[in-house]
């Protein structure tokens, strides 16, 4: 009985995303005390995690990146009304400052050698948001930068509300016809969107690092384009395709196993 109820709770949370206990009480028709007892057991079993406090506590599936806020910010057709200071880096200096805090994840099992690569990958993607969009932001400048360690996995999400990869590259290579070709070109060919500079090896570096280890993955979405790399790339792709709208800018999610 308990196992069945917990499986049902897990299914509801998977389906609805972050869920409050009061919603589970309504949907399952059992007492708040019983719901809280199940939730405590599920947290202890590593099935779910809680976010927030008191009546605002939500539960979500453990091991997932929780992209709701990032996606709302990135996909909003109009200027986002919520720009959390802990996530939105309006200038490169703010982004660089927050990048330096990633040493914190060595406490969760991130090895020193891996830290150097994780920083370099995040640094390249984040700085690209500024390099390719200065003066071309749709509204909010900068990037969304969010990190989360859960169940032996480090998730990093970097998104922007810029011009998108296709518009950024079309000046350097007019043969690029669509979002998908633009993304593949960005990650696999040395080309610079900042014409006439002969550069553009940053995302190639990112792809090499992600594909160079077993427990790494990345997915990037810009407009209708979508690419993934690395053995865990499929996990990243699944997470960023849960949301139906296409981002005008770009959103990149990468996953690094801590085990």
């Amino acid at each position: 009985m308990n196992t069945n109820t917990r499986n049902t709770i897990l299914e509801i949370i998977k389906r609805n995303g972050p869920t409050r206990p009061v919603n589970l009480v309504r949907e399952l028709g059992i007492s708040p005390q019983a719901i809280h007892r199940h939730l405590r057991q599920m947290v202890l079993a590593g099935q779910i995690e809680s976010i927030g406090r008191g009546p605002k506590t939500h539960y979500h599936v453990a091991g997932s990146p929780q992209l709701d806020k990032a996606m709302q910010w990135c996909l909003s057709a109009t200027e986002p009304t919520v720009n959390p200071r802990e996530n939105v880096c309006e200038t490169r200096d703010v982004f660089t400052g927050r990048l330096a805090h990633m040493g914190y994840f060595t406490r969760f099992g991130l090895k020193e050698d891996d830290l150097s690569l994780v920083l370099a990958v995040a640094g390249e993607i984040g700085n690209n948001c500024f390099d390719h969009n200065l003066g071309n932001w749709r509204d909010v400048p900068g990037c969304w930068f969010e990190t989360k360690a859960t169940l032996g996995r480090l998730w990093i999400c970097i998104a922007d509300r810029g011009q998108g990869v296709f518009r950024s590259l079309i000046g350097a290579d007019p043969s690029i016809l669509d979002d998908q070709t633009a993304l593949v070109t960005a990650f696999e060919k040395t080309i610079s969107g900042r014409f006439p500079e002969n550069r553009g090896n940053g995302l190639k570096f990112v792809r090499n690092v992600i594909a160079g280890g077993e427990k790494r993955g990345l997915a990037c979405r810009s407009g209708a384009g979508l690419v993934d790399y690395g053995m865990l790339g499929r996990n990243c792709r699944d997470e960023i395709t849960r949301y139906s709208a296409d981002p005008v800018g770009a959103i990149t999610l990468f996953l690094w196993s801590l085990t």
């Binding site: 660089t96 990048l99 050698d113 690569l117 920083l119 370099a120 090896n201 940053g202 570096f205």
Partner: protein, 91 residues
């Protein structure tokens, strides 16, 4: 002359920061006439290819490709950055 890159920070990212670091390095390198210029990564946590490319391009333009080299390091971000830039570190 050995250039200790940790003087410019322990996390070295972005082209603008690389450009600025290269300019600063040139001030120190004025007294190194004819000497080899060796980039020392000891004490650096992470380097991105954009930063490193800016530094190497600027220094090699002024001092020549043969004079500017990267000292051996086990830092994986440096090794991967050099691969993508197409430069080798000293054995």
């Amino acid at each position: 002359m050995r250039v200790e890159l940790k003087r410019f920070g322990t996390i070295l990212m972005s082209r603008p920061a690389g450009r600025e670091a290269a300019m600063a390095m040139k001030a120190y390198l004025r007294s190194a006439a004819g000497e080899p210029i060796e980039l020392d990564f000891d004490g650096v946590i992470s380097v991105g290819p954009s930063w490193l490319d800016e530094v190497l391009t600027a220094l090699r333009l002024d001092y020549g490709s043969d004079r500017v080299t990267c000292l051996p390091t086990k830092n994986l971000s440096v090794i991967e950055s050099l691969k993508v830039i197409g430069t080798q570190q000293l054995e």
